[in-house]
């Protein structure tokens, strides 16, 4: 029963993302936009760009994740579907989990898959490209889950986008640190690649637990 509710919610959110404005494609474009802006700020020096390339990709991923987050629960809060979900025969945590998974499928996953392509723009070599894609794949769930807490807290606040960013960005710092350091480790560092990657995976798992429960509690209490 609960699984059916979850599946229905995920399917609904994916359909909405595909039809209304295509938020998934849009966050990809935003991602590309930031990656493209950096060389204009730093100059077209390929050596420099390839050295800081993973950092650019990760920073862009953090910002791109942030873009769609404020609408994660707010849209449902406004048109009343959140009330229906609260009354659904599934716990609020499952609703949150389904919505976050759908959000990650439309933002985090495309970002990770497209990152090798964008890595070409900042002159990453093969190893670094693969490593960036892998770390983004492992790390972006943490970003989405942490962001979900902020999205739930600001669901009923009009123009909550700015405050959402202020609340959520400090909590994303560990993910950013380990994402970038794992990628650096892959292309020749002092630590083996798997250590920061394992910590990154652990961060994602912790964020999944804390994020789901905290966001569900926030939605329940915001009435």
């Amino acid at each position: 029963m609960v699984i059916r509710v979850m599946r229905a919610l995920i399917a609904r959110d994916l359909q909405l993302a595909a039809r209304v404005g295509g938020s998934g494609a849009l966050s990809l474009v935003f991602f590309l936009m930031i990656v493209a802006l950096v060389p204009f700020a730093l100059g077209p020096d390929l050596n420099l760009l390839s050295r800081i390339g993973p950092a650019i990709l990760w920073l862009s991923a953090v910002l791109a994740t942030l873009i769609g987050l404020d609408r994660l629960f707010q849209a449902d809060e406004e048109d009343g579907s959140l009330d229906l979900m609260t009354g659904a025969p599934a716990p609020m945590e499952m609703v949150v989990l389904a919505k976050v998974v759908a959000h990650w499928l439309t933002t985090g996953l495309p970002l990770a898959l497209a990152s090798p392509l964008f890595g070409l723009l900042v002159a990453l070599d093969g190893t670094a490209m693969g490593a960036t894609a892998l770390t983004l794949l492992v790390g972006t769930p943490a970003l989405t889950f942490i962001g979900a807490v902020g999205a739930a807290l600001t669901a009923s606040i009009r123009r909550g986008g700015l405050i959402l960013a202020v609340l959520v960005l400090p909590l994303m710092i560990p993910t950013l640190i380990f994402g970038v350091s794992a990628t650096d480790a892959a292309s020749g560092g002092t630590v083996p690649f798997t250590t920061p990657l394992a910590i990154l995976a652990a961060l994602s798992l912790i964020a999944a637990v804390i994020g789901t429960f905290a966001a569900a509690a926030a939605l329940r209490w915001s009435e």
């Binding site: 009330d83 400090p170 509690a217 915001s222």
Partner: protein, 304 residues
């Protein structure tokens, strides 16, 4: 709900429809529900619960405040005297070591107030205690202020010592992130208008932050060792000479007392502010319920 031991209430509420449950819970019926389910009352009705009642709180803190304020002023004066005139200058750092006597207590209080906010957050979520809401709200700006003092004094000390106002050192960076989290919490307080809703939302945020702070601290340590091998001179954490240690402890005590005094003052102000708000709302409702027919709401609130 959703705290410790509230599972069955939660499940029950899900069946009844959460809306009614929330309206019910938000109102005064809250205490009646807790009375109906005695297992929820984890804190027995003791001296502590009496002291924590907002009205009682105002009454018993009233006479205590001048004493607390006086005591912290005296301790602070003694501490500052020790800092300026008694403590010997450090053989390496010279006179700048005196900054430490402000810096370390401020850092301690910055962390202390986050801890007290997290405890109050548990009080808000588990027992829904109104005084916990108030304590939480009052602690945020004070904690942020002490964290800022810590950052500013740290960078003033860093200029002569490290030759720069800011170094991306692990401890500095963690304090900066703590300050940013404080800023987020204060911003959220100012955004949500209804104090009960705001208290619950911020309690969740505070607890999420409390779980994350050790993770952030750990990651920043990792990051800083990765980026800059230990090149920074550290304060001798291992052994501080007693001539410096005792004044430092005295300052920490004075600052803690000062912080608690400020916190109690802020809590009293917050309780009074809430009373004014409640009275304003009641006044508006009374005017609104006036039997004279067809009176627009706007006029009623303005009291025309």
């Amino acid at each position: 709900m959703g705290g410790v031991g509230t599972g069955e209430i939660e499940a029950d509420a899900a069946v009844r429809g959460r809306r009614e449950e929330m309206i019910d819970a938000a109102g005064t019926a809250r205490n009646a529900r807790i009375d109906a389910a005695p297992h929820l009352r984890l804190v027995p009705r003791t001296m502590w619960t009496r002291l924590a009642h907002p009205g009682h709180f105002l009454r018993w803190t009233g006479p205590v405040m001048p004493w607390l304020a006086g005591l912290s002023a005296v301790l602070l004066a003694v501490g500052l005297y020790l800092t300026w005139f008694v403590v010997p200058p450090d053989y390496q750092q010279g006179e700048t070591v005196r900054i430490m006597y402000i810096h370390v207590p401020a850092a301690w209080l910055g962390v202390f107030f986050y801890g007290s906010m997290a405890l109050s957050a548990i009080g808000t979520l588990v027992w829904r205690h109104p005084l916990a809401d108030v304590a939480q709200r009052a602690a945020a700006p004070i904690g942020a202020a002490f964290t800022l003092i810590c950052l500013v004094t740290g960078s003033l000390w860093g200029k002569p010592m490290w030759g720069t106002y800011w170094v991306w050192d692990a401890r500095l960076t963690s304090m900066l992130i703590l300050f940013l989290i404080y800023c987020g919490i204060i911003a959220l307080w100012r955004t949500i208008e209804d104090p009960n809703r705001a208290a619950r939302a911020i309690a969740i945020l505070t607890l999420v932050g409390a779980v994350n702070l050790p993770i952030i601290k750990f990651s920043v340590n990792w990051w800083s060792t990765l980026h800059q091998p230990a090149s920074i001179m550290r304060m001798g954490g291992s052994s501080i000479d007693p001539s410096m240690l005792y004044p430092l402890l005295e300052m920490i005590l004075a600052f803690t007392l000062l912080g608690i005094t400020l916190h109690l003052y802020a809590m009293r102000t917050e309780i009074l502010r809430r009373r004014v708000r409640a009275l304003t709302i009641r006044e508006a409702e009374r005017l609104d319920a006036d039997p004279r027919p067809a009176r627009p709401l706007g006029q009623a609130i303005r009291g025309v």
